[in-house]
């Protein structure tokens, strides 16, 4: 396919400032432009960026970086935020926003690791998982009801939940760290399948499930339709309010799952789990190519976005650079990625007569 070599060129050209020059060579630029605005094309920039980071990591940190073990570390690092980001992708695709996912993650980790719950699950460890999931769903349901039926804008409703859920977690845990001593739970999550941690497998399953849900089901179609034009969806008979509620429940459920994963990674539940995760998740989703105004969402992009940030963190850690430098780099990446995407999206839009 001819697209193969335009891809390679695109990677070289994209960061150059000469892309800003008016498209004098219109015929040459047009297939490239078209490719970049296709779903695969939008992600290709991310794949290239990720590849670039891997090269930088290998060059600067050598074998410490480029080892299977380290790759697994990166994946494990990405998994918790990844699961949160999948849920957020749905909400953003529908034109909403969920700022509460980080706090809900913390709350679900606290509730699931309560002494009483741990005792109750001593014979059956998955109960802890169900409890965490249920906490996430209930928090999401609350968000959804307030937004869809209470007509409060999503930003404010979930901001309120961000504050309240964090406070509730502190109240319940009395600001204590609750150590997980349920052996079944710990054994399962410490274990692996084919040498890959269960935490990573869960991320993979949630991502595949999310992709399927968004692209192959009526649920996904409704999500995209509401984000693209909520009035049109409503006038075509889509129950927009109910669906909006489901979306926040989904985001809450993902935060609940991530809460369990966090419990297993740190072997303790505390109210400070998931601090600022909502911002990391939103950044990964938008850098991945999901439109913040809704109407277009990509699970693959979100996964790439999450991996990009996790790899970046790892490269910095391996090179013993401060986390402050890392934050600056992260900020720059967010801006550059969003600017690149908008450039291609806008060009496509302005060509219609």
């Amino acid at each position: 396919m001819s697209e193969q070599d335009t891809t390679a060129k695109a990677g070289d050209i994209a960061p150059e400032p000469d892309a800003a020059a008016p498209a004098a060579s219109a015929p040459a630029a047009s297939p490239l432009r078209r490719f970049f605005s296709s779903p695969a094309g939008r992600s290709i920039g991310l794949v290239i960026a990720l590849g670039l980071l891997l090269v930088i990591g290998t060059v600067t940190a050598g074998d410490n970086f480029a080892s299977i073990d380290n790759m697994l570390v990166i994946l494990r690092l990405a998994s918790v935020i990844g699961v949160v980001a999948i849920g957020v992708t749905f909400v953003i695709t529908a034109g909403g926003i969920d700022l509460s996912v980080g706090s809900v993650l913390g709350l679900s980790s606290v509730v699931a690791s309560l002494g009483a719950i741990q005792t109750a699950s001593s014979g059956f460890w998955p109960l802890m998982v169900f409890v965490a999931l249920a906490v996430g769903i209930v928090a999401g349901l609350t968000n959804g009801l307030i937004i869809a039926y209470g007509k409060v804008v999503a930003f404010m409703a979930t901001l309120a939940m961000l504050v309240a859920a964090r406070g509730l977690a502190e109240l319940i845990s009395q600001r204590q760290t609750q150590v997980v001593n349920n052996q079944g739970f710990l054994d399962f999550f410490r274990g692996d399948l084919l040498g890959i941690s269960w935490v990573v497998w869960i991320f993979g399953l949630v991502a595949i499930g999310g992709w399927f849900l968004l692209n192959r089901t009526t649920f996904g179609r409704r999500t995209v339709a509401i984000g693209g034009n909520a009035t049109a969806a409503r006038l075509a008979g889509v129950n927009v309010k109910r669906h909006t509620m489901y979306l926040y429940m989904l985001a809450g459920a993902c935060a609940g799952i991530a809460g369990t994963m966090m419990l297993s990674r740190t072997t303790a539940g505390t109210s400070t789990h998931g601090l600022l995760y909502e911002l990391d998740a939103i950044a990964a989703v938008v850098v991945g190519g999901t439109l913040l105004v809704g109407g277009r969402g990509t699970i693959g992009g979100t996964v790439l976005g999450v991996l990009l940030f996790a790899t970046l963190t790892n490269v910095f850690t391996q090179n013993n650079l401060s986390s402050s430098v890392q934050l600056v780099a992260k900020g720059i990446i967010i801006v550059v990625a969003v600017m690149l995407q908008q450039r291609f999206a806008n060009r496509e839009a302005t060509t219609s007569t």
């Binding site: 008016p22 219109a26 089901t217 339709a225 009035t231 006038l235 008979g237 007569t353």
Partner: protein, 506 residues
């Protein structure tokens, strides 16, 4: 009339071409505009009118061809350069900022300021002068633009253009948002401009408007000028239509079928009311019948349709379809009962512009195609393609992005959505807004065919002629009240307006 002894044209365009990728939007456009004339540009959707305007206003750069301004060749690099030359453009979509005052809108981008501090008094004074010049001394400079009617917002938009020292004003379908009375005022403003020597390029679908105010006409077809500088007087409408479409059009409206007296009543509306928008609306539509609502802008026409559909929650009254009562405020009830609405604002209320055609066509039915929760996109595409062929929507590519279609074809997608759904009742709000002459006739024919197949249709349009030509029966409305019911053949446009005037006086 304009004398022919003008030495040079104000604006001369020769052989303008413009391509977007492989699509050639303009393939050789010639245009001459003289000072103080109203030059109409006619053409179907996709004929290249928008591209031409954008090229003249500096938003696009032409590939070839030359633009002469007062006899000198110029390149218009950006909209600011166009304004500096003296070319102002009023786009179809109102480009005013709702939250700012009239004066702030007018001086937006070239604020009157001294050392960075706004001179509010000076701006207010000049705004008052501009408003007087435009025949609206009643609009005070401090009023918030969001609180104005569309017609008055347009006046603000025009005042902004006039606040620059302009010689040419381009108006892109300025009458689209106005009712007939407001159009009259617009025409007075246009005359005011031309009497000051300002030339106007006027773009409109409505031929009768062009006859009223135009001096000369240029017709575009498929990106090329089909005829340039025709005098309005002495060019019959028929000739213009055939230049635009390439065909002769005999009858605009399809013939009515017979609605048998025993056809069942499908839609029954009783005593419907919505707050202060409208009260006591009762009507019924039989299978195979087209009922029209005729009235002016603001009479509550669209609100009635939207309330019947459940988009707005009725404060009183009932809506039944096939004897089954719909809950007020529940669109899903209406859709399940087989009611479809093609809304007034296609783009903001009807379509997912960034999505492929088939997803728009099946927006009301994708769950029906789906197997359980799993989408069946192949079946959706197939059903869409069939409808596109039946609606003569070419090319029949269900995967095309909806934004790229012309207004007429977008309207067909809305019809296709409800055809696939198989509606018993179709509510059409402004079915031909932004649709060009050729495609209009096709849409009229489609609507009539649907009725002949047994669909009950309720139609609203700001063009009274359209309601009269299409409907079997009409209700005349003014100020949210039904004034009279007549068979469409027994009343004409003047009759409707008479009733409306009397009704609101009483």
């Amino acid at each position: 009339m304009i004398e022919d002894d003008h030495p040079v044209s104000l604006l001369e365009v020769r052989g303008l071409t413009k391509s977007f990728g492989s699509a050639r939007a303009l393939k050789g456009v010639d245009l001459d505009v003289r000072a103080g004339e109203v030059h109409c540009v006619l053409g179907q959707n996709g004929a290249g009118k928008s591209t031409l305007i954008k090229t003249l206003s500096g938003a696009h750069q032409p590939d070839e061809g030359e633009i002469r301004w007062n006899g000198e060749q110029v390149t218009i690099e950006n909209p600011v350069a166009a304004l500096e030359l003296g070319i102002a453009t009023m786009y179809q979509e109102l480009d005013v900022v709702d939250g700012l005052s009239i004066a702030e809108n007018i001086y937006l981008g070239h604020e009157l300021a001294r050392g960075g501090v706004l001179s509010r008094r000076e701006a207010a004074k000049r705004t008052r002068e501009l408003m007087k010049r435009l025949g609206h001394p009643d609009l005070s400079p401090g009023r918030e633009v969001g609180s104005l009617s569309p017609a008055n917002q347009q006046i603000v938009s025009m005042a902004r253009a006039l606040s620059h020292d302009i010689k040419l004003m381009i108006m892109d379908e300025p009458s689209a948002v106005l009712d007939s009375e407001e159009v009259g005022n617009l025409f007075r403003v246009v005359e005011e401009l031309t009497s000051q020597g300002i030339a106007v390029i006027y773009i409109s679908h409505r031929l009768e408007e062009i006859e009223r105010i135009g001096d000369r006409i240029t017709v575009l077809k498929d990106g090329a000028s089909q005829a340039s500088n025709l005098p309005v007087e002495g060019t019959p409408t028929r000739e213009l239509i055939s230049l635009m479409t390439g065909t002769d059009i005999e009858h605009a409206f399809p013939e009515r079928g017979e609605v048998s007296a025993d056809a069942p009543v499908v839609l029954e509306v009783t005593d419907l009311a919505l707050g202060k928008h409208f009260q006591d609306v009762s009507l019924s539509v039989r299978a195979g019948e087209i009922v029209g609502l005729a009235g002016l802008v603001g009479s509550g026409r669209s609100e009635i349709l939207e309330t019947v559909y459940g988009h707005r929650k009725a404060t009183n009254g009932t809506v039944t379809v096939d004897g089954k009562r719909l809950r007020p405020g529940h669109v899903t009830d209406a859709v399940d009962a087989g009611v479809g609405l093609s809304p007034e604002e296609r783009k903001s209320q009807g379509l997912l512009l960034e999505e492929p055609i088939y997803r728009n066509a099946t927006l009301a039915t994708f769950t029906r195609f789906a197997k359980g929760p799993l989408l069946d996109e192949a079946a959706e595409r197939k059903a869409t393609e069939e409808q596109m062929k039946a609606l003569e929507l070419r090319p029949a590519e269900p995967n095309r992005i909806t934004r790229t279609l012309s207004g007429g074809n977008q309207q067909k997608i809305m019809l296709a959505r409800w055809l696939i759904h198989g509606t018993r009742v179709l509510l059409l709000d402004e079915p031909t807004r932004g649709v060009d002459v050729g495609a209009r006739m096709e849409i009229y024919r489609l609507i009539r065919n649907l009725a002949d197949a047994g669909t009950a249709i309720l139609i609203v349009s700001s063009e009274i002629e359209e309601v009269l030509g299409l409907a079997d029966r009409i209700h005349v409305i003014a100020d949210g009240r039904f004034l009279a019911e007549r068979p469409a053949t027994e009343i004409d446009e003047h009759g409707v307006l008479d009733l409306v005037m009397k009704g609101s006086a009483a």
